[in-house]
């Protein structure tokens, strides 16, 4: 934007002509046009005053965790996102991704309005088209793909599908299966008898054993775990919780661990059992009584960890720790035997209970017992893809997920999509899927929309987290729920009777009506409107008192066995980018600009290579390499990474978009292209079983790092200042 254009938008110009212009050029500070020009209202709402902030409570939808937000708005514009201090999940904190959500809202690359075959249409046309689809498509040949948020939409769509007799919506998402939600829930059912996502209560733990769970970055409910972690470390005077982490690479969680053991991929379960054995032994239990029947020494050797360290940990647990928590997650559950691993690790908690230790596994009680729709299993997805392939799917509705990008290509979704008669996308951006959709009816971003999210992890009480619009829609978008309901009414007849809601808000109000009877909430009011206002004002509904009760489990002596892997030289760890996660918000410039914690890389995809391996393969920092698996190949830039096993490579997700917008398109690579279609025993993808070959391409590309390469690797003569300070402290 040239000086002139910028200046013509300044009121000053109108005022002082030349003088103004000169002043603008010379005053070093921002032209007011960089802010939005202040316009007098037509009729100012009584709460709004010029220059005064108005705060709205809502919920974050950047990931499904459902953190409560308070958004600061000034004169109708969202200025800053802050955490909702009263919210049970995040207690006032936010993650980087939540912070940058404003750039999702005000992103210049958002879909500007409804389109058919890429050509703009009016919303009336759009709704008619939609009604037509609902009416004239045989129900069984419809399919709905929904994201893990928001829940209210999922439930509405569920009702619609029920009324139509169509197959229920599938809730999918790369993050969902990288978190192996079904595996966790399944294992929890076996060990604790509850089929739900367990929450691990590390806040007052003395020792946390994390088996690959990257719970500080993106896993399930990062902000909750962040809070809990902080409390565990220094929340209790005199007691400092210890974190021991088992993972092939040094994730951000591993980076914060007191002890990080880079174990061989696939041996997590065995190590868990070995540890259990050692602890029990250290506490004077005879082998054979309800213990894992394993040989620690042999396992330690197999997992390539020092037995001595394991024993030390075991002894610490036995003698020092009162409360011990073992968390399975991340890459551990992505192993071919991930389900067994999950059970083994959860059983470890049960074992500790048995040994008289405290453990911390609890389940967030569903609001009024209504559990949200569980995410689809790999089997469901593959079945759908099969039907699409076979042309059995005439209409596919996609909302809240970007399958073309988020499903590994080896699943064949992209091809299958071409066989679908009509693809309807509700994405707010023109993402990879929307780009191929016949009908694109963009939804609002969450800061413009109504709704609620059922908190599944992190809250110690029933929590229904509310969305409300904090600003008027920026573009000509329409709430998907409203669009569907409008279409339903246009179809009319039985369908309209079965789905009798005028609009989204009415639907939500009906759903929350039941809560009006509840007296144990943070507020209660019989009158619907008042209750609704309270609901929005507080950013949702949750109970006054904590309902946390630690689950008791039974030790399962599962046969973990060996994990099997594909052909290839090196193990591959594909992990959600600590900042970008699965990459749905990759077009938020400040999210791209926020350095990754351990590598400090911005704006690109890197591949972590151990120095020895790099030396062996003749790789240097910033070399571009091709990583090939049996299923595909990607190109990434080498980052020589001291914190990874020499036999392992690691690549973050989140980049490699071919659409979405100017800041995401054509940037980096999407490692999902390397993954295969196998499942992990609980019908979540076994994304860790793939092995790869690397090839140097001879080209180089400088990674944007916050760090300085020389300074950090230098010649090792530099001890970190902080460590210096410590040693000073010890004296």
């Amino acid at each position: 934007m040239s000086q002139e254009q910028r200046l013509t938008r300044r009121d000053v110009l109108k005022l002082a002509g030349l003088g103004g212009a000169v002043a603008a050029v010379l005053s070093g500070c921002g032209p007011t046009a960089k802010y939005v020009r202040r316009q007098p209202y037509y009729d100012m709402p009584e709460y709004a005053r010029p220059g005064a902030s108005v705060y709205f409570a809502t919920t974050c939808r950047e990931c499904p965790a459902g953190c409560g937000l308070v958004v600061r708005t000034v004169e109708g514009r969202a200025i800053k996102i802050e955490g909702n201090p009263n919210h049970p999940v995040n207690k006032g904190a936010t993650c980087a991704r939540g912070q940058a959500a404003l750039e999702t809202l005000y992103n210049p690359d958002r879909a500007k309005g409804p389109t058919r075959q890429g050509k703009p249409i009016t919303w009336d046309e759009a709704i008619t088209a939609l009604a037509d689809l609902l009416q004239n498509t045989p129900p069984e040949s419809m399919a709905f793909l929904l994201g893990l948020a928001p829940d209210h939409l999922a439930e509405l769509v569920y009702e619609i599908t029920q009324a139509l007799g169509a197959p229920p919506p599938l809730r999918v998402g790369a993050l969902a299966f990288m978190e192996a939600r079904n595996t966790l829930a399944g294992a929890a059912e076996r060990v604790f008898g509850t089929k739900a996502l367990p929450t691990f209560d590390i806040a007052d733990a003395d020792l946390v054993l994390s088996f690959g769970a990257n719970f500080m970055e993106t896993w399930l409910s990062p902000v909750y775990y962040g809070k809990a972690y902080g409390a565990m470390r220094r929340g209790r005077p005199g007691r400092r919780g210890i974190l021991v982490h088992f993972e092939p690479r040094m994730s951000m969680t591993a980076a914060n661990a007191d002890l990080w053991l880079p174990i061989k991929p696939g041996t997590e379960g065995l190590v868990a059992q070995a540890l259990g054995y050692l602890v029990a032994e250290a506490m004077g239990r005879e082998p054979g009584e309800g213990l894992f029947q394993v040989d620690p020494a042999q396992i330690a050797q197999q997992a390539e960890v020092s037995l001595e360290k394991l024993e030390k940990v075991a002894r610490y647990i036995a003698n020092e720790a009162e409360k011990v928590v073992a968390i399975p997650g991340g890459v551990a559950l992505g192993q071919s035997n991930g389900f067994a691993i999950a059970q083994a690790v959860l059983s470890l908690n049960a074992l500790f209970q048995e040994l008289g230790k405290e453990t911390g596994v609890f389940f967030t009680p569903p609001v009024n017992g209504e559990a949200p729709l569980a995410p689809a299993t790999l089997a469901d997805i593959q079945d759908l893809i099969g039907r699409m392939q076979a042309g059995k799917v005439k209409v596919l509705f996609v909302h809240g997920v970007n399958p073309v990008y988020e499903f590994p290509p080896s699943w064949g979704f992209a091809e299958a999509l071409k066989k679908v008669g009509t693809v309807v996308s509700f994405a707010s951006f023109v993402d990879e899927t929307a780009a191929q959709a016949h009908l694109h009816l963009p939804d609002h971003t969450f800061l413009e929309s109504w709704g609620y999210q059922r908190v599944q992890v992190g809250a110690d009480r029933e929590t229904l987290s509310a969305f409300q619009p904090v600003v008027v829609p920026v573009f000509d978008t329409k709430a998907t729920a409203d669009v569907l309901l409008a279409a339903v009414q246009q179809v009319g007849g039985a369908l309209a009777e079965a789905v009798p809601y005028k609009n989204e808000v009415e639907f939500i109000q009906k759903k929350v009506a039941a809560l009006r009877e509840r007296t144990d909430g943070i507020y209660a009011h019989p009158h619907p409107q008042v209750f609704w206002n309270l609901f929005l004002q507080h950013g949702g509904w949750w109970t006054e008192q904590s309902q946390k009760e630690l689950a008791r489990g039974s030790v399962l002596n599962v046969q973990v066995g060996e994990a099997d892997f594909d052909q290839g030289d090196l193990y591959l760890v594909v992990f959600p980018h600590p900042i970008l996660a699965e990459g749905a918000s990759a077009n938020n410039p400040w999210l791209q600009e926020t350095p990754d914690p351990t590598t400090t890389v911005m704006w690109n995809t890197w591949v972590e290579v151990h120095p020895e391996t790099a030396a062996r393969l003749g790789l240097q920092n910033d070399d571009v390499v091709e990583i090939a698996s049996p299923y595909g190949a990607i190109q990434a830039v080498v980052y020589v990474y001291p914190g990874i096993r020499p036999d392992t490579l690691a690549v973050p997700m989140g980049q490699g978009h071919t659409a979405l917008g100017r800041w995401a398109r054509g940037r980096g690579a999407n490692p999902l292209a390397l993954l295969g279609p196998e499942a992990n025993g609980a019908s979540d993808p076994a994304f860790a079983r793939v092995r790869v070959r690397v090839r140097r391409l001879g080209t180089r590309r400088q990674l944007a790092r916050k760090e300085n390469v020389v300074g950090v690797y230098g010649d090792g003569r530099y001890e970190p200042v902080e460590a210096k300070a410590e040693s000073g402290m010890k004296e």
């Binding site: 009121d11 109108k14 002082a16 921002g30 209202y41 037509y42």
Partner: protein, 179 residues
């Protein structure tokens, strides 16, 4: 000798004269430009509202004692009275137009605060400083006023430095005004 010295004198004189003229010209243009009043969406007459009707400034610029910016009147604020008044002038007709289209009136503010300056009307109004003290006799003007006083840093200081220390900031520290 004679010849040269006279040549010299000529040269020098012409240079001086020309430069003086140039300076004067620039100054004149600048002065003229700075006195222009900006085109307003409608010819608003402060005098009528203040002198005849006797409105206080706060009636329309209602935020002056509540927050940083005084604020421009909303269309509703205007129409509230004007719907009882038969539109006679051009301005009133335009106002009706805005009201019917439910549009806000894009007033062009004349007293612009540079965006690197932090200033709160609230503080000053509550310290019983009359609007005229800074904005001049806007109430007298029949057309949209131009900024009569030059509001620059020295102008702020000139007033503040003479205030009793315990009551009013002396603005000796930059962050008092600059954000």
């Amino acid at each position: 000798m004679q010849a040269t010295s006279s040549q010299v004198r000529k040269a020098v004189i012409t240079v001086v004269v020309l430069s003086v003229l140039g300076v004067l010209l620039v100054a004149a243009v600048g002065l003229y430009r700075s006195q222009q009043t900006p085109p307003q969406p409608l010819p608003f007459n402060h005098q009528v509202h203040v002198q005849k009707v006797g409105l206080s400034c706060l009636y329309c610029h209602s935020n002056a004692n509540k927050g940083q910016s005084a604020g421009m009147p909303t269309t509703q604020r205007c129409i509230a009275c004007h719907q009882q008044i038969e539109p006679t002038t051009e301005g009133e007709r335009i106002l009706r137009q805005y009201a019917e289209n439910e549009e806000s009136i894009p007033w062009v503010p004349v007293a612009i605060m540079p965006d690197f300056v932090y200033f709160s009307h609230q503080v000053h109004v509550n310290a019983n400083i009359s609007c005229e003290q800074c904005h001049g006799e806007v109430g007298q003007s029949t057309i949209a006023p131009s900024l009569t006083k030059k509001q620059n840093m020295g102008w702020c200081l000139a007033c503040h430095q003479n205030q009793p220390q315990e009551r009013v900031a002396r603005l000796t520290s930059c962050e008092a005004c600059h954000k």
